[in-house]
Structures are given as C-alpha cells and as structure tokens.
C-alpha cells in the first residue's frame, strides 16, 4: 500500500472523531490532528486502536507518540505494515 492509499484509508479512521468533514477531505501530510482537525485528545487512543484494526498492525505508544500529524501517522502505519508483511 503506497502513502496515498494509506492516506485515503486514514481518512476513514479519522472520520468519526472529526467535526469538520470538509477539512478532513482536504487533509495532507502536514495536517495536525489536534490543531487542524480539532480532534479531542481523548480520542487519540481510539484512533490508534481503529488504525490497528484497519491496517492489521500493532501500534505501541512509543510509536503513537509520533502520530501528531497525518504524515507521521502514515510513517508509523507504513513501517508497521512493512514489518508484518
């Protein structure tokens, strides 16, 4: 799965926790989950659990620490997917 495909799948993971669906549709690798998408930090663990299910990977919190913007999320997901491939 390339970065663009991961990004498209990531939108589905983020959708339940994002108030403004227009901003979500236009996200790029620089988009910040909390500042730009206004995702409440209380949902960060939900996002990690949902991403684990979506991509069939396991994300420990050391990796999760990096998931503050979309590009970093894709980095972590791509790395974990490569490890399980």
């Amino acid at each position: 799965m390339d970065r663009k495909a991961i990004l498209n799948e990531l939108k589905k993971v983020l959708a339940p926790y994002t108030e403004d669906k227009t901003i979500l549709e236009g996200i790029n690798e620089q988009t910040d989950l909390i500042k730009d998408l206004k995702i409440n930090s209380a949902n960060l663990v939900d996002i990690i659990i949902d991403a684990e299910s979506q991509y069939n990977i396991e994300i420990d919190f050391d990796a999760a620490e990096k998931m503050y913007n979309v590009g970093n999320c894709i980095d972590v997901i791509a790395e974990k997917m490569n490890r399980t491939a």
Binding site: E19, K35, K38, N40, S41, A42, L44, V45, D46, I48, I49, F61, D62, A64, E65, K66, Y68
Partner: protein, 218 residues
C-alpha cells in the same frame, strides 16, 4: 517554573466497553497503574478510573508543554503514582451550570504523578457526567484556581469562546483588573494580557463535548 495544566473528560462521550478492554487501557496505563484500582479500593466503575488517570496524565502533559514546545503527549511516560479517594466518596450528579474552586474546602480525589524525575500533585472532581483535573507542583495548590462550565454547543469555536469568557470572569475577580484579554503565545499556550502587557499568570484550557474549563496559577 510557573505553570498549570487541567483537563476535562465528558463521560457521556466515552465508549465504556472499549475503555474496559485491556487492549485499550494498556496503551496508556502500565501494570502498576492498573493495580491502583484495586489498591485504592475505589468505589467507582473501572472505566471511570481509567479516564481519571488519563485526565491526570493529560493535565500533567499540558503543565510541562508550556515550557517545552516540542513535548509530545506520550501518556505511558506520565505515571500516576498515587490516587486517594476521600472517605465516603460518592458519585453525585453535577446539576449546576458552573463550578469553581473558590470554596476550596472540598474533598477532592488527590494523588501524584511523575514524569521522568519530576513530580506533580493532582486534584480531581468526578461526577457521573465528567472528570475534571488540575495539577500543581504545590501539594496545597496555593494560588491555583480552576473551574468548569456547561456550555450550549460542542463545536470547537464555541467551546473556545466560552472557556475564555469563563476564565476572564475569574481572572478579573482574582487579579482585580477589569479589562483583561487572552492571546496565544507563539507556541500555542494562552497568555493573559493587561492592556497588551503579558501578566505573570499561567493559564490552561480544556474542553470536551459540552464542558469547558480553565486552570490558572499566580
């Protein structure tokens, strides 16, 4: 280092079943923290205990973030050491519109949290509807003020506006200055201004669903 940090969790928004699964809470609570639930003999449901500890971690993160712009929230690195429930603690519904720490004689849930070699103390209020938490380096919370308010809407702009307005009422009253303003620092934390001059006050905001809150330290 003057700082403050607070947090709010609206408990009607949490997924109880997911919270109770070890896959969820073990992402941010270590084994010792999980054991605190039995040790403290907390007379509250486990899912509320999990979110209480999350809330303490988030408040502590905000406290340190103020002086470390690059700090990322890694909840597992913030370790709750101790949780004390007051004798006879009971979950009573929050029936008002707002609450603040003016009458600071309440029996809060208290405890401590460490981050690396640093330690903070926390105070928390727990109702069936919400958890709200504040942290301080001072166990007595001298010159620390905090409060929360129920607002009409859940959109981010409304929450921010209401949190600012709510905090300004208290700040003006405590500082005795009528025309205060709040701006954002370059790294994003709120700054209290008196006619454009930044005051030596640490301020923090939190919001979740229909609850907004502040804490400030003088």
């Amino acid at each position: 280092m003057k700082s403050t940090g607070n947090d709010i969790v609206a408990l009607n928004a949490i997924d109880i079943r997911r919270t109770k699964s070890s896959r969820f809470y073990s992402k941010f609570l270590n084994v010792a923290e999980q054991a605190l639930y039995q040790q403290t003999q907390a007379d509250i449901p486990f899912e509320k205990f999990v979110w209480l500890l999350w809330s303490v971690k988030e408040a502590a993160y905000k406290y340190y973030k103020r002086h470390d712009a690059g700090l990322m929230f890694s909840p597992i690195k913030f370790v709750v050491q101790q949780v004390n429930f007051p004798a006879g603690h009971a979950l009573t519904p929050f029936t008002g519109i707002y609450w603040d720490s003016e009458h600071n004689t309440e029996n809060y849930i208290t405890g401590s949290i460490v981050y690396g070699s640093e330690q903070l103390y926390f105070r928390a209020k727990l109702h069936p509807e919400l958890i709200t938490t504040v942290v301080s380096q001072d166990e007595q919370f001298e010159n620390v003020y905090w409060g929360f308010q129920l607002v009409e809407h859940t959109d981010h702009e409304h929450q921010s506006r209401e949190a600012i307005a709510f905090s300004l009422i208290k700040l003006s009253s405590v500082l005795g200055i009528a025309d205060l303003n709040i701006a954002k620092s370059e790294i994003g934390y709120p700054v209290v201004l008196d006619g454009g001059t930044p005051l030596d006050v640490a301020l923090s905001f939190a919001h979740h669903e229909r609850f907004v809150g502040y804490s400030f330290a003088l």
